[in-house]
């Protein structure tokens, strides 16, 4: 009998039940993510996970609340949507690259990587990774998002 995969942050999920939310499902999809250089595990850390590796800033938090979404990774469905969102965020927060990464990477998510939400109108979706999944080696560099003014 096939076994149900466990989530990478299953222990933390227990404190923010129900997590992941019902509308998440495993699927295959090309995904774009903001990353630091060189691309490594530090670009695939969920918000509450600390301490961070040297050179990676602490998560942005201004209150003690922890939500299910904090244990997921944000992705975009197209390069265009990811770039548009990054530029929009950067207009509001010029130093954003220091907190979120300065480059765009692409990877292909498979059903065995975890469960995903459906892309929103702006192309944003989240993935809750299964235990043992390491997405960093699958990611390849697309471009420097700070090379052009937003």
């Amino acid at each position: 009998m096939p076994t149900t995969p466990t989530f990478k942050y299953a222990t933390q999920h227990q404190s923010v039940d129900p997590c992941p939310e019902d509308e998440h499902a495993p699927t295959t999809r090309v995904a774009y993510r903001f990353v630091f250089l060189p691309i490594g595990p530090s670009s695939f850390l969920p918000v509450p996970l600390t301490p961070r590796p040297p050179g990676i800033p602490p998560p942005r938090r201004n209150n003690q609340e922890v939500r299910c979404a904090h244990f997921a990774l944000s992705m975009y469905d197209t390069e265009e949507n990811a770039t548009k969102k990054y530029n929009s965020l950067r207009k509001n927060n010029p130093n954003l690259h220091q907190s979120m990464g300065s480059h765009l990477a692409v990877l292909t998510l498979q059903v065995q990587h975890g469960v995903q939400s459906s892309p929103a109108k702006d192309g944003h979706f989240r993935i809750h990774e299964y235990a043992g999944v390491d997405l960093a080696p699958l990611a390849t560099l697309v471009k420097d998002l700070t090379a052009v003014a937003p």
């Binding site: 800033p57 602490p58 942005r60 938090r61 201004n62 209150n63 207009k91």
Partner: protein, 323 residues
């Protein structure tokens, strides 16, 4: 990160006001802009501006609610909200990975480094502006007593219609078989729809401030309020067709037009409702007659038009309508 004293900041032992998190207005794997409130109800914004390996830096800005709503409806930008803040100074707060205070200063807003401020053409977070459970309305006009009474009444009546026939609504067994030809009857009609909705889906006026600029706050069911905003958007887009249909239906239901038959009038009610994203078939069923459905639709559209006109003319703007 820069030493804040290099831009005229003065060190504080701690933030001199106790703040509670209300909601994140903009976030991406953690907040970028959050609303907080003090113990005495004043609104503050936490705006992320910088970080290093140990902490994130936030600007904490006292922001009166009308100013915040003005930003949320797209009438001012984030840069203005911070650099032209009413106090003329902001708090600078460094928070570590656990959101514990690692440093605190206050600084004149005019001395903040350029990269600590949003761009001149900074946008507002259209998809995250509505606070769950509330519909806020920003008022940019001096209202007289009649306006003060009219807007909330019309909003609540339009909302009541949506609890029955809008997205997320349910007409259940509501019976709308009134003789619809007098003003007070329409008041009763919308009251019937209001009480037909389960208590958790009903709306009420929660807060008012009628100074200019001012605001209204309604307690709402989010899905009903979102459906109402969507219908206003659709009305603004399809105004000509909707008004043309409603004018013809009104004439027919008052016996002044014989161009329409009952069958074509029913089709027109259903088509007009479809243009507005509300349930026309259900309306006809619960109105007991096509004539009643036409009158109820006209009354609903009149209120929808009122809300749309107020928004278009920048008089009273529904937060979230621009999403």
């Amino acid at each position: 990160m820069r030493d804040p004293t290099t831009f005229q900041a003065m060190r504080l032992v701690t933030l001199p006001v106790t703040l509670q998190h209300v909601r994140d207005l903009e976030e991406h794997e953690g907040p970028l802009l959050s609303e907080f409130k003090s113990n005495d109800g004043e609104t503050f914004l936490y705006y992320w501006c910088d970080c290093d390996n140990d902490a994130n830096r936030w600007l904490v800005v006292r922001t009166p609610r009308p100013r915040l709503f003005r930003y949320l409806v797209g009438k001012s930008n984030l840069r203005t909200l911070i650099s032209d803040c009413m106090d003329g100074f902001v708090y600078i707060v460094d928070l570590d990975a656990a959101a514990r205070m690692a440093g605190c200063w206050f600084a004149p807003s005019s001395a903040l480094p350029t990269d600590y401020l949003p761009a001149e053409d900074s946008s507002h977070p259209r998809d995250q502006v509505t606070e769950a459970g509330f519909q806020d309305v920003y008022i940019d006009s001096q209202w007289d007593y009649e306006d003060v009474a009219t807007y909330p009444r019309r909003y609540l009546q339009t909302y009541a219609f949506h609890t029955a026939f809008g997205e997320g609504g349910d007409p259940k067994k509501v019976s709308l078989d009134y003789k619809l030809n007098q003003g007070w009857v329409f008041h009763t009609l919308f009251e019937r729809m209001r009480v037909n909705a389960p208590p958790e889906k009903r709306a009420s006026l929660a807060a008012v401030s009628f100074a200019s600029p001012g605001f209204l706050r309604f307690t709402v069911a989010p899905e009903i309020a979102a459906g109402l905003r969507q219908s206003i958007r659709k009305f603004l887009k399809e105004r000509k067709s909707v008004m043309s249909n409603v004018t013809a239906l009104t004439a027919w239901s008052n016996g002044r037009d014989t161009q329409l038959t009952e069958k074509t009038a029913k089709e027109s009610v259903v088509e007009t409702c479809k243009l507005l994203g509300v349930q026309g078939d259900q309306l006809v069923t619960h109105a007991k007659s096509v004539g009643n459905a036409a009158k109820i639709l006209a009354s609903y559209v009149k209120r929808l038009s009122f809300l749309a006109d107020n928004d278009e003319e920048d008089v009273a703007m529904l937060v979230g309508l621009g999403e």
